[in-house]
Symmetry: C2
Amino acid sequence: MRIGQLARRSGVSVRALRYYEEQRLLESTRTPGGQRDYPDEAMERVQLIQDLFAAGLSSRTVVELLPCVSTGVATPAMLDQLIIERDRIAARIQDLTRAKTKLGRVIENVTAANVAQD
Amino acid sequence: MRIGQLARRSGVSVRALRYYEEQRLLESTRTPGGQRDYPDEAMERVQLIQDLFAAGLSSRTVVELLPCVSTGVATPAMLDQLIIERDRIAARIQDLTRAKTKLGRVIENVTAANVAQD
DNA sequence: CTCGTACCTGACGTTGACGTCAGGGTTGGC
DNA sequence: GCCAACCCTGACGTCAACGTCAGGTACGAG
């Protein structure tokens, strides 16, 4: 599959895919003419990269952890890093939950006030 | 209270406080000599700003919502925006939770493999 | 008055994940 | 062999929330 098709299928931009390759997150073979060629598994890979980015990991961290995330094999250092990142995500979830609660209360107050006004 | 003290107390940088003022998120009076002077309530305000930033809101959004978050009074447009942001946060929490679960499984696998190896 | 510390206003630098543009080569159906 | 659609490699632009530096002013203890 060529880059445009992978982009459309996985919902990321062509530029992003080239960026992933630049960062060694994604590999490709080349046609004799030099165009990128991806196997079908690339779609899952891109999805995984997006998930990790969405979780707030940097490309540097992702490139370190991708091997063990896809293979399940990790060095002790990788395991430490995995735990650090999981805990970071957990802390972030707590922050977001607090913020959500706060906004929720504001919404309730405002709604109550508006209803009272009616 | 002057800017340095507010910075130390609230745990943000002096530069950040000046940035908040530039973005109209935070006000200050001035001494005759032109130095910023903050009331005690500024600390809560800064904390609130940080919470909203941590929740992923932009300074533009924060400046729009700050009035109703601190006063509890909102126009319909502000209420819409509040709901949009709360839902965005909720969606983000879901993403993070999925990512955390994924990393958690990887950690389990790796740990199990290492234990088996011992 | 003087010195040290804190503060002031610009204004340019940083970082990450791409967007975008220029100039040119590749593919493949007809 | 022609043409549209697609792809290539640089390389500069973007955006937010500050960091940092330069050159100068204010405050307050002694």
